[in-house]
């Protein structure tokens, strides 16, 4: 019962971090996409994570047993959110998507993707992925150790 639960919990963490790095890769790949199916430039998206078992809402360390949802079930992806920060404006009148009229004529709306932020997020995601993987690895060692009890 218990040990496989730990592996399942760490696996939810690995799934979430993998999705995060997938989304980051998509953001970086589209860092200069100025035309999308929805119209306008690409908008960066981000992953919103939530605990799978909701935490108790009152602030006390002592939970009644009936309210305690157990040691937790891991993490889940609540939504993939579009970032609504304003787009970058780059002056390039020869660009096919350049704004033709108005005070911003000659500027091109570029995606609101900051490659540096994405790289930092990617490192965070990959480190968290590794941490979860090492939890699984340790649980495996523990399980093998438990199997040795009857063998000698």
């Amino acid at each position: 019962m218990g040990l496989f639960n730990a592996i399942n919990i760490a696996a939810t963490g690995m799934t979430a971090e993998r999705l995060r790095s997938d989304v980051i890769a998509d953001n970086i790949a589209n860092a200069s996409t100025t035309r999308t199916a929805e119209g306008g430039p690409f908008r960066r998206s981000r992953v919103v994570l939530r605990p799978k078992a909701e935490q108790p809402f009152w602030r006390s360390p002592f939970l009644p047993d009936m309210m305690d949802g157990g040691p937790g079930k891991g993490v889940r992806v609540a939504e993939i959110q579009k970032d609504t920060t304003p787009n970058r404006l780059v002056y390039d009148p020869t660009h096919p998507d350049a704004i033709q009229t108005g005070p911003r004529a000659g500027y091109v709306e570029m995606p609101n993707v900051d490659v540096v932020t994405e790289m930092v997020d990617m490192i965070a995601a990959s480190r968290a992925y590794e941490a979860n993987a090492s939890i699984i690895d340790g649980s495996k060692t523990m399980f093998l150790r438990a199997l040795e009890i009857g063998s000698r």
Binding site: I9, A10, G13, P71, I135, E148, G150
Partner: protein, 138 residues
């Protein structure tokens, strides 16, 4: 009541290993949620309470009341260690990041390693207990 010491030892080891598994689950959950805003980490509380329960068995008062009727109230009662359950405790007071999440990955990894070594030790002690029984049986 368990009179045989071997059974009590194995039972204690068994309980400690169960608590260790629950602690592993809690640490895995803390690790998985290390990036979630407003998540608060949990702890498992077991060993200190077990120690307290085991100590009540030794602390017999100098003057014990004689009970001649089942309705009499004793002035001393040993706490049965089998009633001690591992409890999950929410660490809600501390804050270590700006987003309200208080999971410290380094500390969690350290706890995970410590817990894993403790589990290994307990499993080895159990193996040793059974190997001694084997020695007698041979």
């Amino acid at each position: 009541m368990i009179s045989n010491n071997f059974e009590k030892t194995v039972d204690l080891l068994h309980r400690a290993m169960d608590a260790s598994l629950i602690r592993r689950n809690v640490i895995a959950d803390n690790m998985a949620n290390s990036g979630v805003p407003n998540f608060k980490r949990s702890n498992v509380n077991f060993e200190s309470e077990l120690k307290r329960a085991l100590e009540t068995e030794k602390q017999r008062p100098a003057l014990e009341l004689t009970l001649t009727d089942p309705k009499h109230i004793p002035n001393w009662r040993a706490r049965d260690y089998r009633d001690v359950e591992p409890r999950r405790v929410l660490d809600y007071a501390s804050t270590s990041k700006n987003n309200g999440n208080n999971v410290d990955p380094e500390q969690e990894m350290m706890l995970a390693l410590e817990n894993q070594m403790m589990y290994t030790l307990l499993a080895q002690a159990t193996t040793f207990e059974f190997s001694q029984i084997n020695m007698v049986l041979r």
